[in-house]
Amino acid sequence: MVIACPKVSSAALLCLMITYGPACAADALTIASFGGQYTASQKKSQYEPFTASTGVTIKSVDYNGGLAELTAQVRSGTVSWDVVDVELQDLDRGCADGLFEKIDPAQLPAGSDGVPAIKDFVTGSLHECGVGTVIWSNVLAFSDPAFPDAKPSRIEDFFDLERFPGRRGLPKRPHAILEWALMADGVAPSEVYGVLATPEGLDRAFAKLDTIKYHAVFWETGAQMIQLLADGEVALSAAYNGRVQSAISDDAKPLKIIWDRQIWNADYYAVVAGTQAKNTAFDFVRFATGTVPLAEQTKYIAYGPARRSSQPLIAPAIAATLPTAPANFNNALAFDAAWWTAHGDAINERYAAWLVQ
């Protein structure tokens, strides 16, 4: 945790003397996020404008989700992250475990149309420990040239190696994968989490995954996933829609998104409990979740903004690529973060063991 004050003035000297005191405003923030194109979108729409307006530099750290790194930092007494971009299930858990500062939504700026934040943010995107930024989605994506004839279009096709041969890309974490496995096995979307909660349902999901296990390549980060698809290492992959869209529109990669039964989730900014840069961190969160930065972010990654007031600022061509566009949202399923908070530990452990076996 570095809160050094750069210019040597008497105030700065005072700052240095009480480095860990609240009197010294931090001139740097460390923000952990998911890396690759996603972090790039945050840099352009949020970090850089924030630095330009406040002079606070942002140190960007990549991580892969989950609370392990943060927890390890807390346990070893060297917390170096100030703000974390977290998914809802981690936010819930971290909030319950006291890893994050509480955030008062009344402190957030109103939308650019004057609507107060509490009404401006879409339902569920204001949390007692975090402020929503984007709605993103777990989708399937495929490399177009890998399927010259019939194109895969449904979740079932992911598990159908006969009709759609080619290697599959799977994440090293079980989120959304188990849900899809059950749906492809005939479970109705509305019953997925109920079935998954039973030992037989879980076995059934893993059994379905077993059918593609030896044709799968496993990735850890979104950047790896895109690389695998772009390099032709995998033909069909579980994916995050925004990164696939970036590869399509920015790098003209021949990739296609399958929106069938997409499972959407949200990301939040949360302030790490006990950070020495608490005030600056809150300033950043307030700034970054404003109407304009959230709208700007859609230019760099196809994730929907958490504020309603950002919607009208989005170009129509971009709006059509968001998970929330009506054509894409047809039979979307909401990721059940509460369910994962309750069951995640055991399933993560089993999935990790399944990977090694």
Binding site: G36, G77, T78, A230
Partner: protein, 272 residues
């Protein structure tokens, strides 16, 4: 040996040599990839000059993260190298003066960092430093790297000492030279090549070390290997290839230089 067998043998050795070196050369053209992927673009394969780009070299040159990483790596190695060289050289000189039994025992202790898998050391040092608040600190990394690097110095200086003629010391002492001045005037110049190669080992050990850094470095302690690690694993970009190309180039230059110096030293009649 008949000709065919000989030809086959040299062919085999040529293939092994190719296996050793060709992979390192392949990254060079790919580092001029204009796109953020690890494969050749069609324009590159047609050798169209417009299909080649310095994009990734520019990126690492301009990137604050790469520059910070370079500064950190050099800074850490700049502390580790003299520390490890000093401790290692002293130990190598001391070991040969000890009776066999303690010498063997201490040699095992000193060599232990070379044998124990580094992941275990990383795990252990994390447990060890966490209560002291020294994870995510330069001090922790320097401590660990010095422990990994010093044994190499002991080995290289030790092997330089085995070719060292003890009678020189006796001659010096008979001629009335005090021990300290004998050390600086006789011993040191003779084992200097061993110390130098030990120091080089220590530098490289620290500069290339990734596992300890993965466990102990925070944002401010990012090193070049960590930057490469995330370049390959987390955030794939050919900037890694550009950095790798530069590192291969650097190693090649240093090695060629060392070999030339060694050769001219040999032809000048100096031993080794």
């Amino acid at each position: 040996m008949n000709r065919l067998a000989r030809f086959g043998f040299y062919l085999l050795c040529g293939l092994i040599a190719a296996f050793l070196v060709l992979p390192l050369l392949v990254i060079v053209p790919l580092s001029f990839n204009p796109e953020p992927y690890f494969s050749f673009t069609p324009a590159m394969l047609q050798l169209d000059p417009a299909g080649w780009s310095l994009r990734w070299y520019r990126e690492i040159a301009e990137s604050a993260q790469w520059r910070l990483a370079l500064r950190n790596s050099l800074g850490i190695a700049a502390v580790v190298t003299p520390l490890a060289t000093l401790l290692g050289t002293m130990a190598a000189l001391g070991l040969r003066r000890l009776p066999t039994r303690p010498r063997k025992m201490l040699a095992v202790i000193i060599a232990s960092p070379l044998v124990v898998p580094v992941i275990l050391f990383a795990t252990g040092i994390y447990f060890f430093l966490a209560p002291l608040g020294l994870t995510q600190s330069f001090a922790g990394i320097i401590l660990a790297h010095t422990a990994l690097a010093a044994p190499y110095v002991v080995v290289t200086v030790g092997s330089a000492l085995t070719t060292f003629d003890e009678r020189l010391l006796r001659a010096a002492s008979i001629l009335g030279s005090p021990p300290l001045s004998t050390f600086f005037k006789v011993t040191l110049p003779l084992i200097a090549p061993g110390i130098a190669s030990g120091a080089l080992f220590a530098f490289v050990t620290s500069f290339d070390e990734a596992v300890i850094a993965l466990f102990l470095a925070g944002y401010d302690q990012r090193t070049i290997p960590l930057q490469m690690w995330s370049g390959v694993r987390d955030q794939l970009s050919p900037a890694v290839l550009a950095a790798a190309t530069l590192m291969v180039l650097l190693v090649t230059i240093v090695m060629l230089g060392a070999m030339l110096i060694a050769r001219s030293a040999r032809s000048a009649g100096t031993r080794r």
